[in-house]
């Protein structure tokens, strides 16, 4: 049975990723990236990882993209250039590099045996909050605390970098 939900989510992700990269208006780019994040959250949920799907929406679509929107509105960024309107040689070389970079994993994937990871309706046993929370606070406690420090450093850094010079 063809996993129809996965195919729809994948097609939506690719189409809106292309719009993110190619459209000229920054606000449309941000909104289409939000749709890509939704598609990816749908794929995470389909693979049984409920907590990751929720975290993806809360953090990426609900916080980081809002930050992008605020900065676009603050700086009044209106883009009129479109994809590939720069110098021709640079555009051609960039395309070649990007396709090359994408071809490497594709070749690697084609060499893998297509082991079907079975996807069960409902969450994986390790996909709910309890095992993830337990692992974060016991086995990976150092990484968790360090991420806290990193986020504090990011907040302080962002506030410092964006402040106005006192006159």
């Amino acid at each position: 049975m063809v996993p129809i939900v996965f195919v729809i989510a994948a097609v939506v992700a690719v189409v809106f990723a292309i719009i993110t990269v190619a459209h000229s208006s920054p606000v449309i780019n941000v909104l289409s990236l939000v749709v890509v994040f939704f598609a990816m959250a749908a794929i995470f949920a389909l693979l049984g990882m409920d907590f990751l799907a929720a975290v993806q929406i809360i953090v990426y679509a609900g916080a980081i993209m809002v930050l992008f929107l605020f900065v676009i509105m603050l700086l009044n960024i209106r883009s009129v250039e479109r994809l590939g309107s720069g110098r021709r040689v640079q555009a051609l070389l960039g395309t070649v590099v990007a396709v090359g970079v994408g071809a490497v994993p594709l070749i690697a994937i084609s060499l893998l045996t297509p082991a079907t990871g079975a996807v069960y309706p409902g969450a994986l046993e390790t996909g709910t909050v309890v095992p993830i929370g337990r692992a974060l606070l016991t086995t990976h406690l150092f990484a968790f605390e360090f991420i806290t420090l990193l986020l504090v450093a990011a907040i302080v850094g962002a506030v410092y970098l964006a402040r106005r010079e006192p006159r």
């Binding site: 606000v27 907590f51 799907a53 929720a54 929406i57 809360i58 605020f70 509105m73 709910t128 909050v129």
Partner: protein
């Protein structure tokens, strides 16, 4: 498999119908209750006690001319009210509105009066979807190409993201006390009594968290005393200035639906959901299920009236006071509540 889809479809239709019917009822309650609180009568000409006033208002809004100003960014301008309404409605699928764990419909177990019974990340889903409400306000303000709308939109979204933090931290206490993210478990953990005499509702065991959540709910739905983004005396109508007829109606419906969902969340997480305070009813069969729904609806109705009551009693905050309250008072209070729950659970009091 199709029976399962049909059962979910019936639950979904019932929830949608109930939520959308609440909007005209709330319009009437708001106008009548505010009038009686202000010592005047309110709508009393269209039907007995003015009960058909919302219907007349809806007809007026539908038949109004649908203007789209020429300077707006069309796509975003049309997207914003749709998003406001959709996001508010989508939140409700994780909220249990009754106790129907042992009922069967067409031979298939109903699995509780909740539209998505398998969603074991209930509360996280609600936060995920309600964090998308920021987009509606900020896009409405931005696309309207108008100073007042822009300011209103930025203020509304800054307010929303600040109070989202306090709301989330205050719910963590509830999660710790109930041990699960699924809202059905949260309601079931509030059965029984605490210290022998109080019902074990989380409003009694975690009063700070309850207060913080209620205040944050007021701020999230842009209701007075936090409604500066749409204050009529200050910003014309804030981010809704350039909207008319059905798009304006969509924003208002979104606001009332968001209010209803917030009341439902307050009731579920802090006031025991569908259970009665000291009495322990069994809620078996269809009659018990309908009784539990009736109790839930009564509690939600009380909180909706509370929203209206506070609106017409308190003056509104200035924007800097609002942001200072959110960051300097609400977040520390929520963290204090979280500490209290942890200490109480470790000491065995909770």
């Amino acid at each position: 498999m199709w029976v399962e889809v049909l059962v979910i479809g019936i639950k979904l239709a019932a929830v949608l119908a109930a939520l959308l019917t609440t909007v005209p009822i709330m319009v009437w309650v708001e106008r009548r209750a505010s009038a009686l609180m202000q010592d005047r009568l309110g709508p009393n000409r269209v039907g007995p006690f003015g009960l058909f006033q919302p219907v007349v208002d809806a007809v007026k809004l539908i038949t109004k001319e649908d203007l789209i100003p020429s300077n707006v960014s069309r796509f975003l301008y049309l997207l914003a009210p749709a998003m406001a309404l959709t996001v508010a409605l989508s939140t409700f699928i994780a909220v249990p509105f009754g106790d129907g764990s042992d009922l069967e419909l067409f031979g298939h177990p109903v699995r509780g009066f909740i539209v998505a019974p398998d969603l074991n990340i209930g509360i996280l889903y609600i936060f995920a979807i309600s964090s998308l409400a920021v987009y509606a306000t900020v896009l409405a303000g931005w696309s309207s190409n108008n100073k007042y709308s822009m300011l209103g939109g930025i203020r509304a979204s800054a307010q929303t993201i600040s109070y989202e933090l306090a709301m989330t931290i205050s719910v963590v206490g509830v999660l710790m006390a109930s041990g699960s993210l699924h809202l059905h478990q949260v309601v079931e953990s509030q059965a029984g009594t605490w210290l022998g005499v109080l019902p074990r509702w989380h409003v009694c065991t975690q009063i700070l968290g309850a207060l913080t959540f209620v205040v944050a709910a007021f701020a999230e739905t842009n209701r007075v005393p936090f409604d500066l983004p749409e204050a009529e005396a200050e910003l014309v109508s804030g981010y809704m200035t350039e909207y008319s007829s059905m798009k304006y109606a969509a924003f208002f419906m979104g606001e009332y639906v968001h209010m209803t969902v917030s009341s439902a969340l307050i009731v579920t997480m802090f006031f025991g959901g569908w259970t009665l305070p000291w009495i322990d009813l069994p809620f078996s069969g269809w009659l018990g299920g309908l009784l539990s729904i009736a109790i839930f609806v009564a509690k939600v109705a009380f909180f909706l009236f509370f929203f209206v009551w506070v609106r017409w009693t308190l003056p509104r905050f200035r924007f800097d006071q609002l942001m200072a309250l959110g960051w300097k008072v609400m977040v520390p209070l929520a963290v204090l509540n979280f500490l209290w729950v942890g200490i109480a659970m470790a000491a065995g009091i909770l």
